[in-house]
Symmetry: C2
Amino acid sequence: MTTAPSSALFDRVALIGVGLIGSSLARAIRRHGLARTIAVADQGEGVAARALALGLCDEAGEDAVAAVRGADLVMLCTPVGAGEAIARAIGPALAPGAIVSDVGSVKARVIEMIAPHLPAGVHLVPGHPVAGTEKSGPESGFAELFEGRWCILTPLPTTDARAVDKVAELWRRVGMVIETMDPDTHDKVLAITSHLPHLIAYTIVGTAADLEDHLSQKVIAFSAGGFRDFTRIAGSDPVMWRDVFLNNREAVLEILQRFTEDLTALQRAIRWGEGDTLEALFTKTRAIRQAVIEAKQA
Amino acid sequence: MTTAPSSALFDRVALIGVGLIGSSLARAIRRHGLARTIAVADQGEGVAARALALGLCDEAGEDAVAAVRGADLVMLCTPVGAGEAIARAIGPALAPGAIVSDVGSVKARVIEMIAPHLPAGVHLVPGHPVAGTEKSGPESGFAELFEGRWCILTPLPTTDARAVDKVAELWRRVGMVIETMDPDTHDKVLAITSHLPHLIAYTIVGTAADLEDHLSQKVIAFSAGGFRDFTRIAGSDPVMWRDVFLNNREAVLEILQRFTEDLTALQRAIRWGEGDTLEALFTKTRAIRQAVIEAKQA
């Protein structure tokens, strides 16, 4: 890179949505001096005012169109289901040469929803910073969220390479490691590493909630040992996750089908007391854990 | 309590099995001066010698019978499936008035396996310190493992109350909070808080391992966001967990059935794009997370 570390990468960054990811990005952009101006739009009740009060941005309001005017980078940080309406609204107001990017956990559908509404000369660079916590809202963000984590970019073959480089550089400057893949591969990988685990965690915590009252109380009291991790995952933002499942339907349903088959086989092994089958699987998964530790993802 | 904090609760404690829990208990007993002598038996290759070398105990060998001679407390810290053979072997060697306890994650079956082999005058106090990590072996233990965690005791109606009190006091002295419940309730609660989460984690990591090679590699590389937690859980000891599922079969199969029904309903909601159903569940589970945090289990 020839850009000096301290120089602003962008003149005006518009963040549409200022929840955990948007507010973390605002903080990181501020800390690293990556934009001259940060404008925020969020339709959540009182959210824009809170973002201003937190010092996250220079301008904040409910109107995405106002935020994107004159922006050279527009970053969509809303639940993915909101993408189409926002793209339709802001399309006409986008400056020629502006970059539109996003942080959604689903890529193929998001591209389908956004791309048609962008005028010629505006560059779409779909992205996914793989980072987060189970918390929501502008107060929950922190500038260090992205450090050492992956950011996956899924540019189209036709996307301007300089626009992709600029978005990659933004994420690099806030601490991320960049990987590029096609949208379908991204959606399949995330279906298993993130979407299915969340679906399962939501399910099991829901199953526990529906137990007879005296058992349900005990489950909460003694929630150590596995369930606790699941409740943390199942405490994630409901609307964000609803949108993920609705918009990565095929990949989630496919991996869910495989998972269900595997679970049924295990259920059968338990019912028939097939200890060898259980032990063989549990030994195999231990090796995967080791691989994850070696990939420094643990 | 009238016992002075520094006085030994037991004269000779025999720990049968010195993995994560056994070795942590040995360390904690040492630190708090709760036994005059600690004898360890473990049939794992070289384990007894390592336990001695680690300074965990005064005596160590492969023979459980030698360890329990003269012991006033025998604590079974092996995978639960080993309980019956051990009880049969040590039964005749137990001193009159000795207490036999255990740390197993399953209680009803363990009582069935152990109780018949204990001579009259020996007190069985089944217990379960709800604490652990995914690590195994004598090197993985640490004295602080039990601090602030629950220990569930499931004494039989006929169990000598003084024996129960002594075991409770041991766990209290190493930092645990004691709860008493009947074995069946314990097994149902643990089936959902611990056994099902482990089963699911093992399954999903196994499903990932069976993916096409290029996807499987990416899943390991990008294992953030849910899957990482699952790989940690699925890195737990294979034999211990095999035994848990084989010996808590009914409770695990029952909760697994409920889970599968709930997962199928969710799968259907995803397939048919029923966003409201998804959001309603995800909102309900968030409240459970809040309850877990309030119960200080998070």
